[in-house]
Amino acid sequence: ELKVEQNPLFLSMQEGKNYTIYCNYSTTSDRLYWYRQDPGKSLESLFVLLSNGAVKQEGRLMASLDTKARLSTLHITAAVHDLSATYFCAGHNYGQNFVFGPGTRLSVLP
C-alpha cells in the first residue's frame, strides 16, 4: 500500500531565502504530483512528474523526482510572501487511487 510522507510539516522562512520540501513514498509510484492550497481554497495543481529524473520549474518553484530513492522535492528559490500556502504531494499508481501526503504548511515572513 502506497504511503506518502512529507517533511517538514511546518516551515517558516524569511523572504529571499531558499528551502526544500521533501516527499517520500513507500512503494513504487507511477506518478507524483504537487498541489498548492491557499487557506479556505481548493487545491491547485502545480506539477506532474512522470518519470525518474523529471524536473519541472515554474517561477520560484522547482520539483524533481527520484524514483529509485522514492523521493520528490519541491525547491523554493528566493521565497516571497505570495508563496505562503500549504503544499501537498500525492502519489498515484495506474488503476489505483491518489494518496496524498500530510501537507507542508509554508509561511514566508517579510
Partner: protein, 115 residues
C-alpha cells in the same frame, strides 16, 4: 484542464439532518472523486464515482452515510446523511482527465459545519 463548480459553497446544518452537495464539471469525464478534508488535515478519499456503475467506497466510508449519484458524465452528488459534528469538514470533488498524466482537478469545495 477542467472547470469544476460545487454547490453549496458552505452550509451550517443541524445534527441529524442531511445535505446534498453537487459537483458540476464543464466537460465529460469518466472518473470523479469525492474527498473529505478535515480542518488542518490532508485529503481523505471517500469514494470514486464512475458514470454507469456503483460508487466505490474507501475503508471507513459507507453508502448509507455517504450516498453518491452519478447520473451523467458531467455531474455528481454526494449526500452526507444523519449528520453529526464529526462530519464538519470541507468536501471536495475532483475529476481525472484522460491522458498519461492522470492529473486530478479539484472543485472549490463545500465547507460544512454541523451544530
Amino acid at each position: 484542464s477542467a472547470v469544476i463548480s460545487q454547490k453549496p459553497s458552505r452550509d451550517i446544518c443541524q445534527r441529524g439532518t442531511s445535505l446534498t452537495i453537487q459537483c458540476q464539471v464543464d466537460s465529460q469525464v469518466t472518473m470523479m472523486f469525492w474527498y473529505r478534508q478535515q480542518p488542518g488535515q490532508s485529503l481523505t478519499l471517500i469514494a470514486t464515482a464512475n458514470q454507469g456503475s456503483e460508487a466505490t467506497y474507501e475503508s471507513g466510508f459507507v453508502i448509507d452515510k455517504f450516498p453518491i449519484s452519478r447520473p451523467n458524465l458531467t455531474f455528481s452528488t454526494l449526500t452526507v446523511s444523519n449528520m453529526s459534528p464529526e462530519d464538519s469538514s470541507i468536501y471536495l470533488c475532483s475529476v481525472e482527465l484522460p491522458g498519461a498524466s492522470a492529473e486530478q482537478y479539484f472543485g472549490p469545495g463545500t465547507r460544512l459545519t454541523v451544530t
